[in-house]
Amino acid sequence: MKLAYWMYAGPAHIGTLRIASSFKNVHAIMHAPLGDDYFNVMRSMLERERDFTPVTASIVDRHVLARGSQERVVDNITRKDQEERPDLIVLTPTCTSSILQEDLQNFVDRAQIEAKGDVMLADVNHYRVNELQAADRTLHQIVQYYIEKARKQGNLPEGKTEKPSVNIIGMTTLGFHNQHDCMELKKLMADLGIEVNQVIPEGASVQNLKNLPKAWFNLVPYREVGLMAAKYLEQEFGTPYIDITPMGVVETARCIRKIQQVINAQGGEVDYEEFINEQTLYVSQAAWFSRSIDCQNLTGKKAVVFGDNTHAAAITKILAREMGIHVVWAGTYCKYDADWFREQVSEYCDEVIISDDNGAIGDAIARVEPSAIFGTQMERHVGKRLDIPCGVIASPIHIQNFPIGYKPFVGYEGTNQIVDLIYNSFTLGMEDHLLEIFGGHDTKEVITKGISADSDLGWTKEAQAELNKVPGFVRGKVKRNTEKFARERNISQITVEVMYAAKEAVGA
C-alpha cells in the first residue's frame, strides 16, 4: 500500500480509452463498476467535445460479483454493435475486472460471432502498466490486428507511395496540445514535400490501417505513445521510424535531417539544409530571441523541469542549449523509461530526478528555489505556494491547457510558442532590475511560504521592518535562509544583527 494524494499518470484503462476514442467509429466498453466511466467527463469537459464519447460501461455490480458477468458483457457488446455500428469494439478491463479474473477473451469471442463489427480485448494489466504504457500497447494491438486481418484477407496493399510519405503515429485525445502539434506537423511535412499517408490514432479509421505500410517512414513525435506500433511496422515491413521529437530549434533541425537521410536512403533526392536555415533564422523567432538582449537577462537564471519524458527532455534541452538558462534539475514521472530520460538530459542539467511522488517533487523545488518552474499542473500549484512562476509543459493538465487558439509545441511555430511560455515565466528583465534598485513594489507583510516551513522563530520589530525592505520576490528566500541560519545556531530571536550575520554566512 502506498499513501498517495496525487498521481501523474492515470490508470491503465485511461490509456486504452484514449486510443480507442481517438479513432473514428471505434467504441470502447469498460468492464467496470458504476462511476468508473469518469473518462467521459474528462473528454467532454477538457476537450469540450461536441460528440458523445464512444465509451460505455458494462456495469459490474453485486450480482456480477455473485454470479459472474455471464451474458451481460456479451449482450452489451452486441447491443452497442447494433446501436452504433462501430467498426471496432474494444473491451477494456479495469482494476476491478483484473481481479475478478473472468475470461474476458471468451466474451469477446462469443460476441464476435454475432457482432457485425470487429471485437477485441485490450491486452493491458492494470497493476503493471500505467496510462501511457497502456496507450502505447493498445495502439500497437489495434494496428497489429488490422494488418494481420488484411494479410489474412489478402488485401494488404503492396509497395510504397509514389512520392515520399509519412505516417504520424501517437496523436491522441487528451494528449498535451496534440491537436495543435498534429496540425503543425502536417504543415511541416507539406513544406518538406512529404505526403502524410496516415495520422493515427486521432481521427483515423481502423479500416485504413492496412495502408500504413505504404508510407516511406513513420514519425513518432512523442516518446510515450506510438513507439511500439512503429517498431512493429519496422519489423513487419522494414519501414524506418524516426523518434526525434521536433521540439525546439535544434531538435527540429535534427529531426528534419534524419527525415532527409531516411528518404534519401530509399531513393529520394532531397536536401533540406536550406529549408532548415531559412526557417531557423527567419521563420522561427527562437534563434533570434536567444541572441536578443532580452534573453541575455535570462543567462544563468535557475530553472527546474518536470513532466513526461518527451516534454521534460525537450524543454530541458531548449532551456540549457538554446537559452543559456541553468537547469538545476530535470525530472520525469515516467519511471518505467527512466534510462532514456537520463541519457537525454544528463548533460544539460545538474541533477536528474526520477519520481512519481508529487510531495518529493514539491520539496525538491522548495530546496533549490528556482526563478521559474516548468512542469505539470501540480508544479504550477507548488509554484503558486512558493511564489515562483510556472509554465505548464506536460500532462496532467487542466482545462486551461486545452487552448482554443493555435498553440503547438512542435515544429517551427512550436519554437515560437515555447519562447513566449519561457520568457513570460521569468520576471521580466528590466522590471527585475528596477525592483532590486528601488526595493520592491511594496512593503507589505511577508507571508510564510515553503511547503513545510514552520516559522517557530520570533522576529524583532526592527528585523521585520528590515525584512520588509527586501524586494518582494526574494523576501521569502531571505527569510527562510535567515531562519535556517538562526536555527542552526539555536538563536530564537531574530534581530537585524542576526539577519546580516546570516546574509554574510549564506549569502541570503
Binding site: L3, V41, I99, M378
Partner: protein, 466 residues
C-alpha cells in the same frame, strides 16, 4: 395535454447503464464538513484518478484525504493488510493528528474481501484514534449515497448519553464563569424559554454551516430546538442519540442512515418531504411541528413571500419541460419543486428509489402534479443513458438536467442542459436558498436567450443515417 392520472406514480427500472460519480466522491465535501477528520480511501489508481480529477483544484489545498493505493502485493495477499494499514494510519496520525480516520472501502476491497470492519477496532485500540469504516463503493452505490454510508457508520459513534463532564468543565472555567456569570445565565434562560417542551430532535445530513444555521433558526421560530446534527462540525461533537429521540433527514439519499438511526439507535424517524424549495421547506417544518403537536406559525406567509421573490425566475421556466437523467438522488425533490414552479416533467431518472424513506416526498410530488394539473412523471430507476438520449431526442425537452459526460454533446445538438452535480454542491435547502436552485435551473435558459438570435443552435454536422 392529458390530465393527471389518478392511478398514481409510474415506476420503471432500466438496465443501470448510466453515468454518475463514484460514491467515494463524498470525501470531498465530508472532509470539509468534519473539520478534524481524515478520509483514507483504500482503493486503486482508478479511485485516485477519479478523486483527483473530479475534485479539481481542491486537491491542492492540502486536503485531509488520501489514497491508500493498493498494489499487486496487496491484491495477492503477499502483504499483510493490517500491517500496511497500520503503517499508513500511523503516518497520518503523525502528520495530521486527526480526531477520526474514516476508511472508505472501495470496489477492490469488496472483491478481495478485505475485512475493514474487523481490522478497524483492533487498529483503533492500537493507535488510539477512532476508525470509522464506510463501504462507499461503485458496486453497490451511486454518488451521494457515499455520504449515506459514512453517516450510517458515524451514527454508531454518537454518544448514547449526555456526557456528565459538564460540571467538571464549568469547574475549570470558574474564573471565566464568574466574570460572565449573571449575564450568561440570563441569556441561556431566555433562550430556553423560547422553545416548546418537546422530545429531543436530531437532524441528519451534511450541509454547509450557513445552511445548518438557517434551518436551525427556521425551526427555532416554531419553538423547536435542534439538539444536534449528524454530522457536526467536528467528530468530537457528534450529537447524543438516546433511545426515543426524534430524527429527521434533510436529504433524500440518506436511507441507510435513517434505517440505522431507527433500528440500531432506536430513534423515531419523522418522514417528511425534504426542505428543498419553499414548498418542501414548509412541508418539512409542518411535518416536524405536527409530530410534536405544535401549531406552525407564519409559515404560509413566509412561503408566499418567497414565491413572490422568485417570480422573475419562474417566468422564465413556467410552462417549460425538464428531463432528469438521474445521478444524485435529489431528483424527486427537485422535480417536485420545479413542477410547483410551473414546469412539466416527463421523466425523472434516479439511481435508486427508496419508496419508504422518500414516501412523504413522493406523495407530495403526486399531490403537486394534481394541483398544478400536469401529468405525473415517469420515474425511472437505474436508467439507461442510451435509451434516455433517444427519449430526449423524441421529447425535445426545454431543459435536461444531466451529468457532465452528456452535457456538452447535448448542448451541441441544441438541447439546453444543466450540470446536475452543481445541485449537490450549491446551497439549495430551506426558504433562503430557493432562489439559488432557480438561479442554477434558469442559467442555461438565460444564457441561451442571450445567444438565441445568432442562429448557432446546432453545432454538430448531421450524422449520416446507417
Amino acid at each position: 395535454m392529458t390530465v393527471a392520472q389518478p392511478e398514481g406514480l409510474n415506476f420503471d427500472c432500466e438496465t443501470g447503464n448510466y453515468h454518475t460519480f463514484c460514491p467515494i466522491s463524498c470525501v470531498a465535501w465530508l472532509y470539509q464538513k468534519i473539520e478534524d477528520s481524515f478520509f483514507l480511501v483504500i482503493g486503486t489508481k482508478t479511485c485516485g484518478y477519479f478523486l483527483q480529477n473530479a475534485m479539481g483544484v481542491m486537491i491542492f489545498a492540502e486536503p485531509r484525504y488520501a489514497m491508500a493505493e493498493l498494489e499487486e502485493g496487496d491484491i495477492s495477499a503477499q502483504l499483510n493488510d493490517y500491517e500496511e494499514l497500520k503503517r499508513l494510519c500511523v503516518q497520518i496520525k503523525r502528520d495530521r493528528n486527526p480526531s477520526v480516520i474514516v476508511w472508505i472501502g472501495t470496489c477492490t476491497t469488496e472483491i478481495i474481501k478485505m475485512d475493514l470492519e474487523g481490522l478497524a477496532p483492533k487498529l483503533e485500540a492500537e493507535i488510539g484514534i477512532p476508525i470509522v469504516v464506510a463501504r462507499a463503493n461503485g458496486l453497490d452505490y451511486a454518488f451521494t449515497q457515499g455520504e449515506d454510508t459514512v453517516l450510517a457508520a458515524m451514527a454508531a459513534r454518537c454518544p448514547d448519553k449526555t456526557p456528565v463532564v459538564e460540571a467538571e468543565k464549568h469547574e475549570r472555567n470558574a474564573i471565566a464563569k464568574l466574570l460572565n456569570f449573571g449575564k450568561k445565565k440570563e441569556e441561556v434562560q431566555a433562550e430556553e424559554s423560547e422553545y416548546v417542551d418537546h422530545p429531543p430532535l436530531v437532524l441528519f445530513g451534511s450541509l454547509p454551516d450557513p445552511v445548518v444555521t438557517q434551518l436551525t433558526l427556521e425551526l427555532k421560530k416554531q419553538g423547536i430546538k435542534v439538539s444536534g446534527w449528524l454530522p457536526a462540525k467536528r467528530f468530537t461533537e457528534l450529537p447524543v442519540l438516546e433511545e426515543g429521540y426524534y430524527v429527521a433527514g434533510v436529504n433524500p439519499f440518506l436511507s441507510r442512515t435513517a434505517t440505522t438511526l431507527m433500528r440500531r439507535r432506536k430513534c423515531k424517524l419523522i418522514g417528511a418531504p425534504f426542505p428543498i424549495g419553499p414548498d418542501g421547506s414548509r412541508a418539512w417544518i409542518e411535518k416536524i411541528c405536527s409530530v410534536f403537536g405544535i401549531e406552525p406559525k407564519g409559515l404560509e406567509e413566509r412561503e408566499k413571500q418567497i414565491w413572490e421573490n422568485l417570480e422573475d425566475y419562474i417566468q422564465l421556466i413556467r410552462g417549460k419541460s425538464v428531463f432528469f437523467m438521474g445521478d444524485n438522488l435529489l431528483e424527486i425533490s427537485l422535480a417536485r419543486f420545479l413542477i410547483r414552479c410551473g414546469m412539466t416533467c416527463p421523466e425523472i431518472g434516479i439511481p435508486y428509489m427508496d419508496k419508504r424513506y422518500q414516501a412523504a416526498e413522493l406523495a407530495m410530488l403526486e399531490k403537486t402534479c394534481q394541483e398544478m394539473g400536469v401529468p405525473l412523471p415517469r420515474i425511472v430507476e437505474k436508467p439507461d443513458n442510451y435509451n434516455q438520449i433517444q427519449r430526449i431526442y423524441e421529447l425535445n425537452p426545454d431543459l435536461v438536467i444531466t451529468g457532465m459526460a452528456h452535457a456538452n454533446p447535448l448542448e451541441a445538438r441544441g438541447i439546453n442542459t444543466k450540470w446536475s452535480v452543481e445541485f449537490t454542491f450549491a446551497q439549495i435547502h430551506g426558504f433562503t436558498n430557493a432562489r439559488d436552485i432557480l438561479e442554477l435551473v434558469t442559467r442555461p435558459l438565460r444564457r441561451n436567450n442571450n445567444l438565441k438570435d445568432l442562429g448557432w443552435d446546432k453545432l454538430v454536422k448531421e450524422e449520416a443515417k446507417v
